[in-house]
């Protein structure tokens, strides 16, 4: 590989280092730091999930199992450090999570990777439920409903970080998020990483070039479990508590949603998805009780209208730039975006009004303006926005089609 290509490959990673170094200065508040720490954990988790879904073609409904087991492994070792039983830095606990995740992947993957497609998805769901149930049964291991908690300020320090204040935890999270992402990206460039794409595209043909697709799936599954466990270990250190809820289908569903909204067709998609969902979860929940509803809607819209996710849209724009079509496409895309925003705003107003009509009475606030469900104004505004949105979303694809068929110069 020539030097310039190599530099081009590494440029995004250098940019990531700069970004990670600057973020705490740009967003120094405690809230911002805790959101960024959560993003760091979830992006590793989502990337590990995409090793299965996007790259290996394996739809799992039970990825929380490896996240949770890795987290519990790290948490127990943290307890041992506190008790003085082992001399291990808390900073290195994600490695414990990684090891536990690998082992869990190796054990559980053995039966489940024999099948692909729907049976694989069903088995992953079953195993997820099984482990979640076991989590509540074995109180001595998983701590029952209370979970188990730990203290991260024990044991030897690494890089002079006591890991006490959240600002120091940020560096811990940033370090592991970076290392894990880089490792997962490097994996995509190895023969096994490429073969997992081959098995995703066409398992039968993979057999006829000498590879056992079950073996490929199994190995990818183990490695993916390891990185999910690593994210679990990061989570154990960050929150200092873990409950069996971590194994739940909700967590497995959330990682699927993050990866898919971000885009499973590119490496970086799940990072965008993790960031967006964590931000929505933490910020939106301050403003509205319907925030989960909005995430659900967003997920459905992406599945139906932009299956490439956010990164799919980014790649589409980059393609247009390369083909020098951006100037012609921008007005059409602008129209589509405006229509989609109108639609979204109309829907938000509608949902909030309905919610207040049935559950609460105080008026909603939109950009500082109070809107009451008792006046017709709010309902009319919602209807108008939805109508505009619908019109725009019908017209924009028509224009796009005409352009792509070359009917418009």
């Amino acid at each position: 590989m020539s030097a310039p290509t190599f530099l081009r490959l590494l440029a995004p990673w250098l940019a990531a280092i700069v970004l990670l170094a600057l973020l705490p200065s740009i967003f120094p508040s405690r809230t911002a730091l805790s959101v960024m720490n959560a993003i760091g954990i979830q992006l590793v988790f989502a990337l590990s999930y995409n090793m299965l879904l996007g790259q290996g073609g394996m739809l799992s409904f039970g990825h929380a199992v490896y996240f949770g087991l890795g987290g519990y492994g790290a948490m127990h070792v943290m307890g041992m450090i506190e008790a003085g039983a082992v001399d291990f830095p808390v900073f290195g606990l994600p490695l414990v999570g990684f090891a536990v995740g690998l082992i869990a992947g190796a054990v559980i993957g053995w039966p489940s990777c024999r099948r692909a497609g729907v049976p694989f998805a069903m088995i992953s769901l079953g195993i997820g439920e099984l482990v979640a149930a076991a989590g509540f049964m074995f109180v001595s291991v998983f701590g029952g409903e209370e979970g188990i908690s730990g203290d991260r300020m024990v044991g030897p320090e690494v890089l002079g970080l006591s890991l006490g204040p959240i600002g120091e935890v940020y560096w811990f999270i940033a370090f592991w998020a970076f290392v894990a992402s880089l490792a997962m990206w490097a994996f995509t460039r190895t023969p096994l990483g490429r073969l997992s794409n081959a098995v995703r595209d066409n398992p039968q043909r993979a057999e006829f070039i000498g590879f056992n697709p079950q073996r490929v799936r199994y190995l990818v599954f183990i490695i993916s479990g390891g990185f999910a466990g690593l994210a679990g270990g990061m989570s154990a250190v960050n929150y200092e508590i873990l409950t069996p809820e971590t194994f739940s289908a909700l967590v497995s569903g959330a990682v699927l949603i993050m990866a898919f909204i971000g885009g499973i067709g590119t490496f970086y998609g799940p990072i965008l998805g993790a960031a967006l969902i964590v931000v929505m979860q933490s910020l939106l929940s301050d403003y509205t009780e319907a925030w989960q509803f909005y995430i659900g809607i967003l997920f459905m819209v992406i599945v139906m209208f932009a299956p490439g996710g956010l990164s799919g849209l980014v790649e589409r724009v980059r393609l247009a730039v390369r083909r020098r079509e951006l100037a012609s496409l921008a007005p059409i895309w602008g129209m589509g975006t405006a229509a989609a925003l109108a639609m979204a705003l109309g829907m938000v107003i509608l949902v909030e009004l309905v919610f207040r009509w049935r559950e609460r009475s105080e008026p909603m606030e939109l950009l500082g303006f109070p809107i009451s469900h008792q006046s017709v104004l709010g309902w009319a505004l919602a209807g108008l926005l939805l109508a505009f949105g619908t019109l725009g979303l019908r017209e924009a694809p028509r224009r796009l089609g005409r352009f792509l068929r070359g009917e418009v110069p």
Binding site: M1, R189, T190, P191, R194, A198, R200, I209
Partner: protein, 249 residues
């Protein structure tokens, strides 16, 4: 010459339907051998039995001296027998280059490797580039395979089949659905890439068959009714009877 591939007493039944009804056939090392026969004769099933997609109901397939019937397809492939498919069977979302690179990996000893970058494996790169040139697909190197033209996809199909350097190559209707010009190009490609290998080919285009094959076997209702040089097959009355009403030989 020693037999590269030997089928003896091969049968295959799906439920009560016996599709292959006792096939004995010897493919000599280095020859180009065509299997022809009317639709539904069992040609594709025969290929599936040889390549390990199905296990035979009874009988045996030997690659040189080794019995391969009953082995999984990937092990048969590793022993040096590779096949193409009648319906294009490529890695659609991957680039042409990635398709070829994956097909090269096993034969060069990179198994389930995850500790080295694929682009740093000099022998893999060299072999993949050679394949790209051989197939005349250099212009489409980074194109996702699913977006290639039909003829290019068929060429890639053959490329994936032979990239691993198999000694025995099975091609299942490589020119199906092609125009005359495309067929000529495909035959030229097949001729070049099977140089020094043993070829077993199923083909409907009699021009291709008689132009390419050293020997021909005729499969009718799951049995080989004749086997010989193109001249012998052309003159064989049983073959003429089987093909009555179909294309003239």
């Amino acid at each position: 010459m020693r037999a590269a591939l030997t089928l003896s007493g091969l049968t295959k039944s799906f439920g009560p339907a016996e599709i292959i009804r006792g096939v004995d056939l010897e493919i000599r090392g280095g020859e180009r051998h065509a299997v022809i026969g009317p639709n539904g004769a069992g040609k594709s099933t025969l290929f599936n039995l040889i390549s390990g997609a199905f296990a035979p109901t009874s009988g045996e397939v030997r690659l040189r001296d080794k019995t391969i019937s009953g082995l999984p397809a990937y092990e048969i492939n590793r022993l040096g027998l590779s096949r193409s498919f009648q319906v294009t069977n490529i890695f659609h979302n991957m680039s042409v280059y990635e398709n070829l690179r994956c097909a090269v990996l096993w034969s060069l000893g990179y198994r389930y490797t995850f500790w080295r970058w694929a682009s740093r494996l000099a022998d893999v790169t060299r072999r993949s580039e050679e394949m790209l040139t051989l197939l005349h697909l250099g212009h489409a190197r980074e194109t996702p395979a699913g977006l290639l033209s039909y003829a290019d996809q068929r060429a890639l199909e053959i490329g994936i089949t032979i990239a691993g350097g198999a000694e025995v190559v099975l091609l299942d209707e490589p020119t199906a659905g092609m125009s005359h010009a495309e067929t000529d190009r495909a035959v030229d490609l097949i001729r070049r890439v099977t140089e020094g290998r043993t070829l077993l080919i199923v083909e409907h285009d009699m021009g291709v068959v008689f132009g390419l094959a050293d020997r021909i076997s005729v499969l009718v209702y799951g049995e080989i009714i004749a086997s010989g040089t193109p001249e012998e097959i052309r003159g064989n009355p049983k073959v003429r009877e089987a093909y009555l009403g179909e294309e003239a030989l």
